[in-house]
C-alpha cells in the first residue's frame, strides 16, 4: 500500500529468512568481530587482484546465505546486488556462477537499502517468492577507485572514513509466520545535495540525506522516533551523526539515544585508527547481517529503521569540482512474534 509521498507499507510483510556476513581481517578485529559468520584472514580472498578478491567475497557470502537458509539456489528468482566499483565489476564478475537473474544496483554505500527496497517490493507484489539482496565493498578496491591506489601510500585526513572490507546478503521470502525479521515498510530516498565538496568528509555530505529520509518516514507513516527502538544509519560516522542529530533536533526529534550508525559500530576508532568510522556498501550490509538482524530476531529491538546512506559522487564529478549529492533509503524491519 502506498503511504505518503515516498513510502510503502506492506500488508503482508516479506520475511528475511536467511542472512550471511563475511568480512576482512580488520573488521574481524573490531567490536563486532565475533558476530560475523566468517572473518577472512586473507584480504585477497584467494584471488590475485583486489577486484577479483571482492568478487570472490560476494560469491562466498551469497553461497553462505543460501546454505544457512537451506534454500535451493534455483528458488531464488532475483538477485539485487551492487558494489562501489565502476560498472559494478565486483558484482558482475562475482555473481556469474550463481546463475540467478540479476538487477545490478549502484547506490554507493546505500546499496543494501536500495536492494532491500526493491527486493521487498518485488516479493510483496508477488513477482517472486524468494529474492536475494546483497552488497559488498573492499578497502583496497575502493581506495583505488575513489582515492589513491594502495601502492601510492598516501596519508588519510582525520575526517575520512575507512571503507569496510565486507559483504552482507539476505534472502527475502514471501510473508509467513517465522523467520529472522519482517520488512514492514520502506521509505525510498531522493537525491539531496547541500553543496558539500569535500570527498574526504562524506559523513557531512550524507547526513542531510539521512535526515530527509527519516523525516519523510515519520511524515509518511505519521509516526515519530518513539515508534522505533533503534534508528540505524549506514555510514555517517561520528561527524555525520552529530550533523544528523542537530538536524533532527531542529525539527523537534531527539534521536540521541536511539540512533546509531553502522560505521560507528563496526570499528573502534581508538585502537583501529579508523578516524571517522567505517563506510562502503559492505559496512551497512555486513553490520545488518551480523549485529542488527540477530537483535531484532531475539526481540532486543522490536522495530528498527535501517537507513543506509550513499554519497553518489564519481571521480569525474569530483575532479570537475562538483558537489557530493547523497541519498538514503529507509527500511522498516520488525521483530516477528512467534
Amino acid at each position: 500500500m502506498q503511504v505518503g509521498k515516498a513510502s510503502i507499507k506492506f500488508e503482508e510483510p516479506p520475511v528475511i529468512e536467511s542472512m550471511a556476513s563475511i568480512v576482512g581481517k580488520k573488521e574481524g578485529e573490531g567490536p563486532l568481530g565475533k558476530l560475523f559468520d566468517v572473518v577472512e584472514q586473507d584480504d585477497m580472498f584467494g584471488a590475485d587482484t583486489w577486484e577479483k578478491a571482492e568478487s570472490a567475497l560476494q560469491k562466498q557470502t551469497a553461497d553462505l546465505a543460501i546454505e544457512k537458509g537451506d534454500v535451493r539456489k534455483k528458488d531464488i528468482r532475483y538477485l539485487f546486488a551492487g558494489d562501489l566499483l565502476g560498472q559494478l565489476i565486483a558484482t558482475s564478475f562475482g555473481t556469474v556462477d550463481l546463475e540467478i537473474p540479476l538487477f545490478g544496483l549502484f547506490g554507493a554505500c546505500s546499496t543494501m537499502g536500495e536492494a532491500l527496497n526493491l527486493g521487498s517490493m518485488t516479493v510483496a507484489a508477488g513477482y517472486a517468492d524468494k529474492v536475494m539482496a546483497m552488497a559488498s565493498s573492499h578497502f583496497a578496491t575502493a581506495e583505488k577507485q575513489f582515492r589513491f591506489p594502495l601502492g601510492y601510500g598516501n596519508q588519510r585526513p582525520f575526517s575520512s572514513s575507512w571503507t569496510v572490507t565486507g559483504c552482507g546478503a539476505v534472502i527475502l521470502t514471501k510473508h509467513r509466520k517465522e523467520g529472522i525479521a519482517a520488512i514492514t515498510g520502506i521509505t525510498t530516498g531522493r537525491m539531496v545535495d547541500m553543496g558539500i565538496k569535500d570527498s574526504m568528509n562524506m559523513g557531512a555530505a550524507m547526513a542531510p540525506a539521512a535526515f530527509h529520509t527519516i523525516q519523510q518516514n515519520f511524515d509518511d507513516f505519521n509516526i515519530d522516533e518513539n515508534y522505533y527502538d533503534k534508528i540505524i544509519t549506514g555510514d555517517l560516522g561520528r561527524v555525520g551523526r552529530t550533523i544528523l542529530l542537530d538536524f533532527m533536533r531542529n525539527k523537534g526529534h531527539d534521536l540521541e539515544n536511539i540512533h546509531t550508525d553502522c560505521g560507528i559500530e563496526i570499528f573502534d576508532p581508538d585502537s583501529q585508527d579508523t578516524h571517522s568510522g567505517g563506510s562502503g556498501c559492505g559496512c551497512a550490509a555486513s553490520t545488518l547481517c551480523s549485529y542488527i538482524l540477530p537483535k531484532i530476531k531475539d526481540g532486543t529491538w522490536k522495530r528498527v529503521l535501517f537507513v543506509p546512506t550513499g554519497a553518489l559522487l564519481s571521480t569525474v564529478s569530483f575532479n570537475e569540482g562538483e558537489t557530493i549529492p547523497s541519498i538514503a533509503h529507509g527500511v522498516m524491519i520488525e521483530h516477528i512474534e512467534n
Binding site: 576482512g24 581481517k25 580488520k26 584480504d43 578497502f139 583496497a140 589513491f148 591506489p149 594502495l150 601502492g151 598516501n154 596519508q155 585526513p157 582525520f158 572490507t165 569535500d198 574526504m200
Partner: protein
Amino acid sequence: MEYVKAFLVGGAICAVVQVVMDNTKLMPGRIMVLLVVIGSILGALGIYQPFSDWAGAGATVPLLGFGNSLWKGVLKSMGEDGFLGVFKGGFTASAVGISGALIFGYLGSIIFKPKMKS
C-alpha cells in the same frame, strides 16, 4: 656532520609540509605542485641555491630542490639556446630525477606488492 645537517634540514621541510597536510584541505597532488613552484621561485630569487649548497641533500631531495633544479636547467638552457631554452631546460635538468623515479618505481613494483593498510 654533513649527514646530520642534511637529515635535520630535510626533516624540517617535511615537518612543515606535514603540518600543511594536516591543517588544510589541500590534496597531496596540489601540495607537491606547490612545493615545486615555491622551489622554482626561491631559485629564481637566488635564495635556494645558497641554501642548497649549505644543506646538501637535505635541500635537494625534497620537492623544493626539484623546483630549483627546474629553474637552474631553464636558466642554463636559455643561455645556450635563447628563448627555446625555456621549453628545453627544465626537462634536461630533471631528466635524471624523473627517469630515476620511473625506473626505480617500476623495479619496486616488480619486487613488491601493495598490502592492505591496517
